[in-house]
Symmetry: C2
Subunit: 518 residues, 2 copies
């Protein structure tokens, strides 16, 4: 396509493209925009290498003129301007997330990469934000690397789930690259690698604040015997291998002891072994963190575990024991969390993998990249489906706010129009339905599109991951809760000015078919 | 976990891990194993860099002994042995796709990366193979980069869809890196970038086998006028911009002319403009390739287009015109293709994006990595769900074939057992259901697990992409068609020897709970 453009003399044609989506994902009514920083990095590095050119020469027809390859070799993104909404902002269908202006061929060559970099990033950030809303104040950890769509899919998942509100990841490389808190526990294989207490290599631990190691193993074993009546089990059916595994893990991480308690039987073995080791740690002046449940009825088991923790807390006067962390991590999705909330549970945190990182409910966001102007002439893509008609022309986007600080509506207008003014009424029209229109008096007007790239340079300060994460949080606060709810959320309105409405519909009319209504 | 293993003195423990899945994806009864080459590359490069160690020192507790970091620094995969099934082989639940043997800590550290590299690769290859079966002999092109889960997700999608039976990709970088045929057309924006014939920069084309350029534009315009009666349209409603775009594309690619015909109206504009330009190309001794449909009723429009092509072929005696390619590319999934097959259509090829590359129907394969042996002692992971109980011990896998060449059953057995012998009966048992067992007399026995990595080197020849693709094709041929069908496919059986059955169940019994049936 680039060659055909070039051959048609469109090398210096000046194009404007909008990058936007048509439908919010996950049956929701909002989306978090993400991926901008990666788009800018891509612009910085955009070029055809010698080997790229060589490859193209092999696969393209021999009729392609040599001059074209010289032209390709000279291409960079320096003549491109990129306007975008700030990363981490809540966005809606038809709003341009990115507006690209510049030489047609270059702008066109960027299409697929920009779409690739925005689609998954925004989908992931949105998915994570939805988990965050479902989970309330509970801790959320991304545990998805093993199920992600490729190694890079895994890294992106860690990054954008952190942006969307997760508290950390088990992906250590993501922690290193993006400075995201890292959190992990052990696997079932750690537990099954121990058969009995005799396998323990180290049985001693230095109590906190002291210097001399003391026998830790015996203390834990004694605690287990003491606890047997509370748990109402027969000691012979409690796994010794599991206890050995817990003891060895506690000795390795006395300040960070989290135990996976469902390898054998949560109620008959895991909880008892955990409590024994946690109380032994207490005797050594350390505090256990808690447990992880990876199977079974999570609501029920968490309540059982909490009851034991409280009973022990009271019986042995260890106040923090009542509050030990209970983490769940078995194939959890948004619905699981909402259902756990309904049932009642005693969980403090979730480790979430597959459903988060592959966005199982909807694994792709449908961003598109459409030409809206060429050489200052508007371009429109018509379609038998009204929803697929593009809004032509170079546009700005404003978000209008109510007195109470909520976002009322987004307004698209032509770049030649003056921006809306605070406390003055502005006519906001549905882009396609004539009867849908309203006057809005904004208490605050926010310009959403900012110039991020010009003359080959990033020209707007880029926030760090923390700032983007903050932006997601704040951005969601300005949405009314009925727009954010899971069941039948209210759509947020995206409108056009009267001027843009007429511009769009006049152009549409000019292109209307003759002869029949379709 | 690695530190806890180290601290517990398990540095030299020798572990065997199986990598396998529990359920075929996409409601199907088969899976294509892929990703092995990437796993081997990962083993080649496995190490902790200085900066990795530095990072770990920052995030791990200060109590971690310095010796441990020295140990990490020394780690490589040279003491690991990797057995695997050949890439591109059809595989089934519970069969170890990869068996890893070696020092426990290293084997454990490989877990997440190996799972990541196998899960998506196998899922994609399986998805592509299913599309291939649905599409029969039609051409299939992967068009998914823009919707893939990250840039690497896009590259992997191109690679593994080619393995699974696709004919090419629109991802040029994948073409370059993996030597996959590249195929693309133009976008709607190419069409809308032209408003009228006056915009054409070049209007001439050199006829094939000649040297002098002749006026191509006028020939095409003349053809259009001639064709108007056939298409039963009013010339004024046929888009001139579209014609200009087609002419310019044909001039750029006279041997590769494919036109996107649905920008304005397929029946009233796109088809007529395409035929005019294709006939002009014919006058210049070139052959057009065909059209692409990206919206609307694909079955109906393809039939309409084919009818016009045949009419023109007959009227103007251009035989190949009747056979021009008709490609469809609008959000196509496996069901769309099956439904198009039912309706009847005249399509020759599909360009497939989102549903293929994100595996929308099921975006993750659930491979797991379980320890089955430690220091020559079997390890078993029990679970309240029988399907989650692991089959302990170091195992080999044999595929038993019938006289007619079909695969009858896969048989897992302990490594200490002799392999099954051709034409001798062997007892194959369901691993968990005592009553399910049968004697099988194989006409051929195939050993599925091969040693691919030992002493730090790849020790089995690695096939190229073409060979793997061939393997997928041949491997699917040995499956009975009822196992491969879309609706209610028959499950293929995976069995264990009597010896392994008893080994598994004795171990299970040793670990049985006391006191109640659960």
């Amino acid at each position: 396509m680039a060659y055909a453009y070039w051959k048609s003399g469109k090398t210096n044609a000046y194009a404007v493209f909008d990058l936007f989506f048509r439908k919010n994902p996950f049956n929701g009514e909002f989306t978090i925009f993400a991926g901008l920083e990666e788009c800018l990095k891509f612009l910085q590095k955009f070029l055809f290498s010698e080997s790229d050119i060589y490859y193209l020469q092999q696969i393209l027809p021999p009729s392609i003129e040599e001059e074209f390859y010289k032209y390709l070799k000279s291409l960079t993104a320096k003549d491109i301007s990129l306007y975008a909404i700030k990363e981490g902002t809540v966005v809606f269908p038809r709003v341009p997330l990115i507006r690209i202006e510049g030489p047609l061929i270059i702008a066109q060559l960027l299409e697929t990469s920009l779409l690739n970099l925005v689609n998954y990033a925004s989908l992931m950030a949105t998915n994570a934000a939805r988990f965050r809303m479902a989970a309330g104040k509970l801790k959320l950890y991304e545990f998805g690397l093993r199920r992600a769509q490729g190694p890079d899919g895994g890294l992106s998942a860690s990054k954008y789930s952190y942006i969307g509100g997760f508290d950390g990841t088990s992906n250590v490389l993501a922690g290193k690259l993006f400075n995201i808190p890292v959190k992990g526990t052990h696997a079932h294989s750690y537990i099954t690698s121990f058969n009995s207490l005799t396998e323990l290599n180290t049985t001693t631990l230095i109590p906190k604040q002291r210097k001399e190691a003391q026998d830790f193993c015996t203390v834990a074993v004694d605690w287990r015997e003491k606890l047997v009546p509370i748990f109402n089990v027969v000691l012979s059916e409690v796994s010794d291998g599991e206890l050995a595994a817990f003891i060895s893990f506690a000795i390795a991480f006395p300040n960070d002891f989290v135990a996976l308690v469902d390898t054998y039987d949560v109620k008959k073995s895991g909880l008892l072994n955990f409590c024994a080791v946690a109380l032994a740690l207490h005797d050594f002046d350390y505090r256990a963190i808690g447990i992880r449940l990876d199977s079974g009825d999570l609501a029920y088991l968490s309540i059982v575990a909490r009851e034991y923790f409280i009973k022990i807390s009271n019986k042995y006067s260890v106040p923090y024991f009542a509050e030990l962390m209970i983490m769940a991590s078995n194939d959890i999705n948004e619905e699981t969390i909402l259902s756990l909330n309904d049932q009642g549970h005693c969980l403090n945190s979730f480790g979430i993998g597959t459903h988060l990182v592959t966005c199982q409910k909807q694994p792709a966001l449908g961003c598109v990249y459409k030409m809206v102007e060429l050489n200052e002439e508007p371009r429109i893509k018509l379609s038998q489906e009204v929803a697929k008609v593009t809004i032509p022309g170079k546009k700005n986007v404003y978000r209008l706010y109510s007195e109470t600080g909520y976002a009322l509506i987004d307004l698209l207008q032509r770049c030649t129009e003056n921006p809306p003014v605070t406390n003055q009424k502005v006519l906001c029209r549905h882009p396609f339905v004539e009867s849908k229109r309203a006057f809005v008096i904004p208490s605050r007007v926010e310009n959403l599109l900012h110039l991020f790239w010009k003359n080959g340079e990033v020209c707007h300060p880029l926030p760090n991951l923390q700032d983007i994460r903050e932006n997601v949080k704040n951005s969601l606060k300005i949405l009314r809760s009925d727009i954010k709810r899971t069941l039948n959320p209210t759509p947020y309105k995206v409108s056009v000015t009267d001027n843009l409405y007429n511009y769009l519909h006049n152009l549409w009319l000019e292109n209307a078919p003759i002869g029949e209504l379709s």
